[in-house]
Symmetry: D2
Subunit: 348 residues, 4 copies
């Protein structure tokens, strides 16, 4: 009953097989190999775009490289107050950008609200060089609250950003889950909705360590190549990043994996909402479930071997007893059912 | 009727005289001169402390050098949501610290509230290296809203900071005004209340370009000397920073200048509150007056030659018509009275 | 006949097997897993030291994280004029350290000379904060010229460093090759010779992407955990870094792999030196061969499918026709012999 | 007999008078004042160019802001091995640029040699993102060795730079001295010779703290405004920077001051070369004299109250007894003659 993180799951078999298959003979170093080429092309197909693709092993690196390409050091980033880039990357955006300012806006169920963004952007006229000018809006899809932006929400947010000359970055650590949940195409969820760049996640959803920074707005490519090297993120044996993604993206494997994780979360969420004393904090749209639970229940679950984290949800007091439960491609139905059975037995 | 900024005022005569008097003969470069020595000693006397003093020409530099000494690049700074360091220094703290994260808390009349700070600091337990750990609390005294922290407020805030291992920095761009307003001693307003370092302002209150970073907590001195040089803030002809401060601090000149500025603001504030349609937004405790005024009044005042800025006050809608009026050591009573007379005539 | 780089080789079977074996069940994220624990312990055993070990996927990251722990932003690094950190990491040390200055000294066959270092360090007395103080000496073992420092050379260099308060960093991208070549123990080549930290390479010698920053001088650990995260180098599925190293270090697998690579280079080097017109530039002590070859020979070799890079060797004019040939754990004796046979046939 | 530094001299009377004259009434803050406007216009006239001018209080700031505008963080700077930016600014270029790499080439009497530069630039072809690409050439005029580049030397150097897409920065801390020495016009010594930006010095030659970054190549202006603020170098009372420069540049005051300093150095240099045991190290072209002197002479001079620094000159051993003697606008003929008289008496 491991609901601590999708990062605790192993590598999905289709990805591991691809790694093993790629492991013979010499191959050009530093990403100039066939596996990497194929992965980049495959992503262009999936996104129906002639985009620039940078293969990486870490989502933090993908986010930060992208943000650094989108703002000068004196610029400011806007994101939600639960954004991973703001709360959980130890200041990586500040590091990679050379000290850009990260500013968080209040989110509703993890999602930025177009009206709030619009108001914030128009509130303070810039007077000369005193204030850090906003340069990037960063959205997370699926969000850190387990929700998903609709295409029209994305359009409204990116339109507001565009009006004030902000680039739009999307943190897609759980992008696959969002695609499955929304039913929209990768293109509709990104560049067609005004997104300039996407951190396309693979690791949480079945890769070993594979992500891609996908730059739709080719004006922003400039120095990414150099910064990737300079940050130590250019793999010498690049083929093994390419191979992971080729395994991950073959047929619809990535979506199959995400669909399973989403289904497990839905099952968990629907089970939990019927339990007295348990309240769902956000709607469960992807593979994350946020609930408030009584301490007695939590204790029993943990004693039974379930793992999950207490969580801080903006607006809820610490006394609310909020918890985050995450499912993955590898979550078994039985784990979910066992968890629910214990919960039922405790609260009856 | 210039109420735009205390930076529009000229150099006070006692400071300019000191500059002229210092201008003869050779003098050791880079701050190792007699004028600088005397200024540093004088500040130690005024603060009744064996503190380390760094002479600087810019308040932004003083703030940022201090903050850089108090946090590693991966740390986070806490300040109020109207803090100059957060809103008006173009990301200087991020630049000098190597990318520390600046996080703003809601302020009440420009002042951080101990309970809010305490709640914020205890809310999220740090789990490993994912979140930027808080390293510094920065307070502004007198605040950007024209108010003044009492000694007991400072004690409560610094106690909360200390409990969580944060250093306390004070932005004292208008410290002289706060000393006059509070009646408390410089020592009571700083190190005796738990402040580790102070950006002691001179420029706004009558100097040409002279500030001092005063470090009470000598553990924090480490690299300031190097970073000052590295940031281009070590004057080669250092005697002219020392001379300004020696003129400024002689007898109680600095307090006399501030007392005048405060009195002019009080006069303006008290006059304005009697005018129909004008509302005081924050209490006027130093040399800054924040009011909401009807647009017709604003137009008439500007036509008559008055200068002042519209202002964004957190919590007030743009439609509130908020304005900031600043007085200085050089504000003439007649300017204030003329301004009030116009206001009266317009609104009658 | 791929002599372009040891990075073109695949993953050694013992490492890939370990990855596959590690791939089941849930495992704590972010390096707090059993595989990672075992890898860290194994390295402590190998180095006979209670050292701090940070698992990483990139040698550039290992070098830069280590250097950042050893110098403040205003410090300076000393290294050789062929150092990888200086020439081939796109300024990664400058990036991670927050702008420390990288200064190169002339090397002899890739090795810094104690007398040259000593002279440089004593030449310019530091006068206050004007000059970046030297904080770290970085040595590469085996060097970028295919040579190996003896234990006594390391002792002399680190003694000079220590005398001037410099920390000693070792770039061990090819450390395994140096251990094999020197016959000295890992401990004798590092902390017993005064080395404070080592970038222990795995990738070039058979891993997929696995290195370790090993910190012998525990005073230097401070912020590495945070900077690793902040730089995007903390793997969420950390077990796969641990597993690689566990496969690599099991029994003496890592030394067996390196011994083979060294032997292939020796075979190549000894073969080449008998060929008219070919000159060995540096002694071949590890898995790198530097030769000057006539252009006609180069052309023939390339036409036959051999790959290798032209090289710039300090002191040699471009007209010298210098080339670098690299062998790896996966170089086949037949490749070497075929290369030599072509060379013989061309030059006869 | 103060020959320690031109920074030990006081402010020239024409500059101090301008400061006093500017000291009345209100004036717009942050450089949007009349004095600043006039200074910027005056510099455009003097350089016969429609250039962008940024007023600053520090030469280190002028250099570093300019360099930051000319290179991305991953770029490299080329300069001479005695360059002030490399040796004497505590890594300011690295700080302002976000970690660009500073690389020094051997200089001849303080001057870079076109052939050496050309060879260095062509030596290593860039292979992808591994090496920091050269982005700026920085020249000092007059040099740190007291010499002056001729117009044709500047043209040759900037042509080599241009061929490899490098921008050309000039550190003109002693630019006035170089103009006087060369007889060439400010325009001929800068943009007409291919210089993109100049740090125009005022402080050493009679100002209190006033420099200007002059950008001839307007493509490079981009973010300077923001970085100046962010680095704490935008004066709030900007009129006092403008006033200094207006006093300095009025009529040919700046050149008169420099001519005097140069003449005093020439007098000193010519006197010293006739003294047995004293050797001139570099030709004396501006206000700096470099000599090797016997220790007995040095001791006698110091006992008589003369101040000057021992110096490290590349290529000379520490035993050479090298010293730097600097004259200024305020050096008196009598000081020089007294110095020479003592020298004569000691060595006779």
């Amino acid at each position: 009953m491991n609901f601590a993180s999708d990062n605790t799951a192993p590598v999905a078999p289709g990805v591991m097989d691809a790694l093993v298959a790629a492991n013979s003979g010499a191959s050009t170093a530093y990403g100039a190999d066939d596996e990497s080429d194929r992965a980049r092309q495959r992503l262009c197909e999936i996104f129906d775009a002639d985009c620039a693709v940078y293969l990486l092993a870490s989502g933090t690196a993908a986010n930060s490289l992208g943000l650094a390409a989108a703002t000068p050091p004196h610029g400011a980033l806007l994101c939600s107050d639960v954004a991973h880039i703001h709360l959980d990357e130890c200041g990586a955006p500040e590091f990679f950008t050379g000290g850009a300012k990260c500013q968080a806006l209040p989110a509703l169920s993890g999602k930025l609200v177009p009206g709030v963004l619009q108001a914030h952007l128009t509130e303070r006229p810039l007077l000369g060089p005193h204030r850090s000018p906003y340069k990037v809006l960063s959205l997370t899809q699926g969000t850190e609250a387990g929700t998903v932006y609709t295409v029209s929400e994305l359009q409204a947010l990116s339109a507001a950003a565009r009006e004030h000359q902000l680039m739009v970055h999307m943190d897609g650590a759980r992008f696959a889950n969002a695609v499955v949940a929304s039913g929209a195409s990768p293109a509709d969820l990104t560049w067609r909705a005004g997104v300039d760049m996407l951190s396309f996640g693979g690791t949480k959803n079945g890769c070993m360590a594979a992500e891609a920074l996908i730059v739709f707005n080719r004006d922003l490519e400039g120095d990414i190549d150099y910064l990737r090297k300079r940050a130590g993120h250019l793999w010498s044996k690049g083929r093994y990043l390419g191979a992971q993604l080729n395994g991950y993206l073959r047929d619809s494997y990535w979506l199959t994996l995400a669909a399973h994780a989403n289904a497990m979360a839905k099952r968990l969420s629907e089970g939990l909402r019927t339990i007295p004393g348990v309240k769902l904090i956000y709607p469960t749209e992807i593979n994350e479930v946020f609930v408030s639970m009584p301490q007695t229940l939590v204790t029993e679950l943990q004693l039974a071997g379930a793992s999950f984290y207490p969580w801080v949800c903006p607006g809820l007091p610490p006394s609310a007893g909020a918890y985050r439960l995450i499912t993955s491609w590898n979550t078994h139905e039985k784990e979910v059912d066992q968890f629910l059975a214990i919960a039922h037995s405790v609260t009856e």
